[in-house]
């Protein structure tokens, strides 16, 4: 009876797996035809040793040569080798963080045991590690293999690779923490032929990933007590006599495959009805965070809904949200196709929108990275930055414009302000259009790639309009999904949809480091009869004044601005200045005095580095300075009393 059952299970197993790999029907997407070019087809059989946090696997990769020329050299990523002390990744970590000390528990490795090429034999001995970015001989994150004969354009080549992974404790994105394992960047991944060359960067401290679309058939064998989540959809699962179970997954039109396993995961599922069909939302929560499952499910549903309506459909049948355990937050906040990691803690108050920000952001990457698969090594702003902008827009809509970052104890902050303050910290250090690993440091990378890009796009709304920018993003998504667009593809799409030449803006904002800062250099009303002695007494509405306002462009960034002047007779004058000169002067002779002058009265130019100098109110109000000084003084009083406790 037992053997019969096992036999039936095996039949079902191979039936499902065979159906999936034949490509006859789409099992992982809600599309009846392939959505991408499917350059690669990975089939991986992996067995996890949960006790030793290691994995042995056999990978079969069928690569279709669509490069337009014969290829005899193939480079591969081995990302796990970055977690070694002499790697470029760790060098850069130490460079940017003096306090960082290497610990052996972080050590991880991916070792290719053998590499065979169908029809060409065993090429294991041909493997050579290369360091195209910095020449670091100790970096083993990229290897290449030269074939004895080239693969013709249009032909396919089949690699069979056996490899062994040793995971380290989570340092960044991948690894283990206690019983939790995040299997990311875990298999040898072929690089991308892009713009006429192999694009294969080493794994850097600030870089993420770039790969070709294709299919993934992955069979994971893990202990039976493990709860597993993975990219794609689950096809079948069977228990093995040795206490393990094997789960088969299929991913289509994706460019990476990640999985996670932990016995303690609590699973929650729900369905979202998208415009291309139903999407299963699967949450893997920590036991201590079960009370927050609703919160995660709600923001995931709202994100799916907003993206579907605003930018385009989510075509996959499943999305998995992983909640990493405490101490593994470095594995959190990370995106993989159809799976992402969020992050929370037991004490996370409802008013702290960290859960919403991280979940929305990482889901957003399903679009900006997952489907619009830009080169994260070279143009990180195209995924992180655009995603930060859409995060602002969606969270503003869901959580309120002024409270999207947090709302707690009468304090609040918007997500836009958080992005803007990030940008302000590093505004002139690096241009957005810079390779991710070439930024001055990690902080500048984050501030510019995320903060500045979001702020630039928020400012662009002022130029072309909110709706036009939304339409541009939708066009960009629909046009370039399942491809590898460049920054110019993105910028040209905006120009095309808006019907405007925006080079003046992009050259400064995207390719440059100029600061945008305008201020009021002078604002005063002087009596026209100033020279008369004695002067007639002032009479409101009768005395003539000459009002002079000088608007100054402090920064080098040229941007047209509106200037609003208010007079004490209730009149408001709005002027437009192209900002080309360093300053401009407005002069009015009126029977009214100036009350205030304000640059950018709609507060639409988020790129302006200093909002405080954008206006001048003639009648000053010291409330703010007094308040702040009081708070400062109270803090000093408090500290004084604490110090006096020692007397």
């Amino acid at each position: 009876m037992r053997w019969r059952l096992l036999g039936a299970a095996v039949s079902l197993w191979f039936g499902l797996a065979g159906m999936a790999s034949s490509g006859a029907a789409s099992v992982a997407t809600n599309s009846d035809k392939p959505l991408s070019e499917r350059v690669v087809a990975y089939s991986i059989d992996a067995r996890l040793d949960a006790r030793h946090k290691s994995l042995d696997a056999t990978e079969t990769l069928i690569y279709r040569n669509l490069t337009g020329q014969p290829q005899d050299t193939f480079p591969f990523h081995l990302y796990l080798n970055a977690f070694q002390p002499k790697s470029t990744f760790m060098r850069e970590e130490r460079r940017d963080r003096d306090s960082f000390e290497w610990e052996e528990k972080y050590r991880a490795s991916a070792e290719v045991k053998s590499l065979l090429v169908h029809g060409m034999g065993d090429l294991t001995s041909q493997i050579r590690f290369i360091s195209p970015d910095d020449g670091n001989p100790d970096d083993r994150t990229v290897f290449q293999v030269k074939l004895p004969k080239p693969v013709k354009q249009g032909d396919s080549v089949e690699f069979k690779i056996t490899f062994h992974d040793q995971f380290g404790e989570v340092f960044a994105r991948t690894g283990y923490k206690r019983d939790f394992i995040m299997g990311a960047q875990w298999f040898p991944k072929v690089c991308v032929w892009w713009q006429g060359a192999w694009n294969c960067h080493q794994f850097h401290n600030t870089t993420e990933f770039f790969a070709d679309f294709g299919t993934f058939d992955v069979r994971l064998t893990v202990p039976q007590n493990e709860v597993v989540g993975a990219s794609g959809v689950e096809l079948a699962a069977q228990n093995n006599p040795n206490g393990t179970k094997t789960i088969a997954y299929r991913g289509e039109d994706i460019h990476d495959f990640a999985w996670t396993a932990e016995p303690e995961f609590r699973v929650f599922t729900d369905t979202f009805q998208g415009s291309m069909g139903p999407v299963t939302m699967r949450l893997l929560m920590q036991p201590g965070h079960v009370k927050q499952a609703d919160r995660h499910m709600t923001i995931l549903r709202q994100s799916l809904d907003h993206f579907d309506r605003w930018y385009g459909p989510y075509p996959y049948k499943q999305i998995t949200l992983v909640d990493p355990p405490h101490g593994a937050l470095r594995a959190g906040g990370m995106e993989y196709p159809t799976l992402f990691t969020a992050g929370t803690a037991w004490w996370m108050a409802k008013g702290l929108h960290f859960v919403e920000i991280v979940s929305e952001h990482e889901f957003g990457h399903q679009y900006w990275y997952g489907m619009v698969a830009t080169n994260e090594f070279e143009d990180a702003w195209l995924d992180e930055g655009i995603n930060s902008y859409t995060e602002c827009k969606i969270l503003d809509d869901i959580l309120g414009k002024n409270t999207s970052a947090f709302e707690l104890w009468s304090m609040h902050e918007s997500d836009d302000a958080q992005q803007r303050n990030g940008y302000r910290d590093s505004a002139d250090l690096d241009p957005m259009a810079r390779f991710a690993y070439q930024y001055m440091n990690r902080s500048s990378y984050g501030d510019i790639t995320y903060g500045k890009t979001a702020t630039v796009l928020l400012t662009l709304e002022k130029v072309i309009g909110v709706q036009t920018l939304q339409r541009s993003l939708r066009t960009y998504f629909m046009r370039y999904r399942f491809t590898h667009p460049t920054k110019e593809d993105f910028l040209k799409t905006i120009e095309e949809v808006s019907g405007q030449n925006l080079r003046w803006f992009f050259d400064q904002a995207v390719y440059g480091t100029a600061i945008l800062d305008y201020d009021i250099a002078k604002a005063s009303s002087d009596r026209l009869d100033w020279f008369e002695k004695p002067r007639a007494p002032k009479k409101k509405g009768q005395t003539l004044y000459r009002t002079t306002v000088i608007v100054h462009r402090k920064g080098d960034f040229i941007f047209p601005v509106d200037v609003l002047m208010k007079f004490d007779d209730g009149e408001n004058l709005r002027q437009h200045w192209d900002g080309h000169d360093r300053w401009t002067r407005y002069t009015y002779d009126k029977k009214a005095k100036l009350v205030s002058v304000e640059i950018d009265p709609d507060t639409a130019i988020s790129l302006d580095r200093n909002y405080f100098n954008n206006s001048y109110v003639v009648q000053g109000d010291a409330s703010a300075s007094q308040n702040l000084t009081h708070y400062w003084a109270v803090a000093v009083q408090f500290l004084s009393q604490l110090a006096a406790w020692l007397t």
Binding site: R420, D425, F612, V618, L628, A633, V634, S640, W645, L646
Partner: protein, 312 residues
Amino acid sequence: MINHSSILAEGARRVWRRQRIVWWIFAVNLILAFASAMTLVHAIGDVTDHSLAARRLVSGFDWGMYSELLTTPDVNFESHIPGSGSAVLVFFIFMLFMTGGILASYGNEYALSTREFFANCGAFFWRSVRLSFFMAIALTPIVIGGRALLQQAGKAINDAAGEKTGYWFALLAILLTLFLMMAVRLWFDISQVRAVVEDESAMARSCLQAFKVTFSNFGSLFWIYFRISLLAWLALAVGLWLWIRLSGGFAIVMLEVVLLCWVGTRMWQRASEVAWYQSRLIIPHSAPERVLSPALEPLPAPLAAESLPPDE
């Protein structure tokens, strides 16, 4: 058995009767802090007084705008830290100087004249300095140990199997460190009281004697000290709770009330310690006599009549 409530009540009575001390300390604290912030008000005022954006700093607490102001080079908050640090230091020295006078005031049934008060301040200043130095030595291992415990707690927050384990550990580490610091503070409070009450000039000896007295009566003394501390922390919590709900001038006044409470409760601790110390001395009751020397009177009759601590 000693009646703690009576000691607390006696301490409160003495603070109330010598409330000028509290007001003066509070005033000096306030003036020093505001004087140190004067340069800041100009620096912030230059940026905010004529700016429409500054309105967002007044209505509600927009953290984004505060962050923007904090990082505006025109204000440069960091440049104001040394000035305010000096205010903290001056207040520290001021309180060190005042200790002798404060304890003498709380130890005497009659009100000291200004001259008497400052004579006591001067007479005990260097003794207070020496005691502070000894206390710093006693506190050092506690601070180092507390820091080490907190580091371990930080590791436990990441590594322990239970998510809350590390937080509990951190809380325990903080409570233990605070408890030990309070115990040392209590010991040196009694050293200071002893130095003033008994006009002790050998501070090392005073420390040793106070150590014996404090830790042989630790339960009762700590209970007195702790209850008043609890009240101070409660005042802070309630004050902050109200502060969040108030705005403008009311919010500022609320914070000042909290700080006044802190001065008051600390003086209450001091007065209660003096009362406690006097209650354990067997001194024949005699009529109060005005003195200029830093000697103190015995406790008034009703309190002195109460029983001694059990271990005496």
